[in-house]
Amino acid sequence: MFHRESGVLKTTYEADMALYPLPIARWTVGALAVVFFGVLPLTLDQYYLSLANLVWISVIGALGLNILVGYTGQVSIGHGAFMSVGAYTAANLAIRLGSPWPVNLLAGGLMAALVGAVVGIPSVRIKGLYLAIATLAGQLIIEWTINHVTFISGGVQASIDVPRPRLGSYVLSSQRQMYFFLLVFVVLAIVGTLNLIRSRVGRAFIAIRDQDIAAEIIGIDIFRYKLLAFAISSFYAGVTGVLYTYYLGIANYEQFQIGVSIDYLAMIIIGGLGSVLGSVLGAIFVTLLPIGIRYAMEAFGGLFFAPQTVLNLIPNLRLMMFGALIIFFLIVEPEGLNRLWRNIRNYFRIWPFAY
């Protein structure tokens, strides 16, 4: 029951593509479900739950970006803006029409998908660096539009208050309630991505990433699939934006500036490109990094610096650590945390009887 296979013993494609290759995978998933749905929300206090909630929101966004960058090989520096599209769509619907959150969530995701596909149109003719810069342009243009068109941004400070999501007459407001609310979407996003990658569409994405001209020659409609990748990825981003808006209770474009796009890129680089587990690990890592740095500085920074210096140092230290980690992972472990985890697992697979 707890064994792992000793080699590749698959004889059918079905076995190769299975979500649960071994019985132990079911057990692992079951155990994780117990921990995340049962143990953690009941034991953590408000503060740690709020951190967990931030992590869940990032996980969804990182998965979406990984579909585009990791699986389809198209670089996007515009995901922060796609999130803002989702956020403002949902906020406007909630305020103007008073529509319930499932409608807003879906509408936000679809609107972001539409905008993402439009931004992705240049990807048909341009690729690589030119595309990266084109998506950067998308980010700046969307940011500017939201900030300057008062119909979208609601005027003053470009922020809109959003009512709390409710299930029937039950209002979700505490961190613990939001935890469950967000976790459901994390599970949906993970299962959705895993299945997308196993499907025909996912294989087409991977073919485009590996060699797009070759993919075109074997009959993959590049235009369609590249736009589809942008749309799906932006849908995730839009949903992330909506969830973040509901979590904060306010839609504000400052939460989705270019730094956010870069944070998400860092998540998938550090976690591992083209890997679902990597997206999750990377999202956890990058979200908790600034908090870890703050703790470390508050605990030990006083030994070296004056208290005021420590406070000034923390944001700068965060920037430096963040950049250094990106470069470190790119040079030392290009496949990211996912690869590290696999190395550990493979070591213990044959432990203690290594050859």
Partner: protein, 298 residues
């Protein structure tokens, strides 16, 4: 001459001068891309760090201007070589996203390093030229912009000569064209990569001095880097004349748009118009005006 036309000329002349100053920074970007196929998303941060070094040498150490400038140039050259050796050489042959993210990471580090080691406040970077603009008819031309444009033109000509006629420049073009063949011809490819980054350092240092004088030196100086992308995309990522033409287009367009549209939409079009123009240009000419068209094979 009507008032209206005078206003237009003022915007135009301003745009041309500012555009040439963008070209100087864009030149750094193009040099690296041309030689190493790497794109430098930290170009603005290079400019910021160079400006900080020079400003600090003048204000804190009390060095004369020429010493400070030399110090800035030397430190950026060393930085360029070191960066290539430590980070970018390891990323040769890796996907584009790797290089893009490495320079974004570098940008993040430099943004943290700036305020930590050089102080967070805005520092002046005084140059011994007057603040009084030259007035020619309707035109107001600040001397610093004239200086910036001249330095820019000088360096563009110098690099043009370097690439066309000098031995090292020809070798660098060979490296850019085909790394493997260049290696087979006995060119030390890695040394030229280092040289390209050092040249970018030089251009950034000059950009840092001129832009630092214009805007004051702090972390926000690195935002100049965002202006570089439309410039190089319009001109073509690997073309020196492209950097000039792109710079001129961006400078003129942003000034004219800001002059005529800003009053109606409440500002900010300056940062936004070049990117719209860039997207439109990408639809028509995916490799920019002078960019090399890449023919791909499976």
């Amino acid at each position: 001459m009507s008032e209206e036309f005078g206003f237009f000329l003022l915007l135009l002349s301003n745009g041309v001068l500012i555009g040439l100053m963008y070209s100087l920074i864009a030149l750094g970007f193009v040099l690296v891309y041309k030689a190493t196929d790497a794109v430098n998303f930290a170009q603005g941060e290079f400019v910021m760090i160079a400006g900080l070094v020079v400003a600090l040498a003048i204000s804190a150490a009390g060095a004369p201007l020429w010493v400070a400038v030399m110090l800035g140039l030397a430190s950026m050259i060393v930085f360029g070589f070191a960066l290539e050796r430590v980070v970018l050489r390891k990323l040769i042959g890796r996907p584009i996203i790797a290089v893009v993210m490495a320079t974004i990471g570098l940008a993040s580090i430099l943004r943290g390093v700036g305020p930590t080691f050089f102080g967070a406040g805005t520092k002046p970077l005084p140059l011994p030229i007057s603040d009084e603009p030259f007035v020619i008819g309707p035109l107001f031309i600040p001397p610093i912009q004239l200086l910036g444009a001249s330095v820019s033109i000088f360096f563009i000509l110098a690099f043009g000569w370097f690439f066309l006629w000098s031995r090292k420049g020809i070798a660098m073009r060979a490296v850019a064209d085909n790394q493997q063949v260049a290696m087979a011809m006995g060119i030390n490819v890695e040394r030229y990569f280092g040289l390209a980054w050092a040249m970018t350092g030089v251009v950034s240092a000059l950009g840092g001095i001129i832009w630092g004088n214009l805007l004051g030196v702090d972390v926000n100086l690195s935002l100049v880097g965002f202006k570089v992308f439309p410039v190089v995309i319009l001109g073509g990522l690997d073309s020196i004349p492209g950097a000039v033409v792109g710079g001129l287009i961006v400078g003129v367009v942003e000034n004219i748009v800001a002059g005529y549209v800003d009053p109606y939409v409440g500002g900010g079009t300056k940062d936004f118009a070049p990117y719209v123009l860039m997207i439109l240009a990408l639809m028509v000419r995916p490799y920019g005006i002078f960019g090399k068209r890449i023919i791909e094979r499976v």
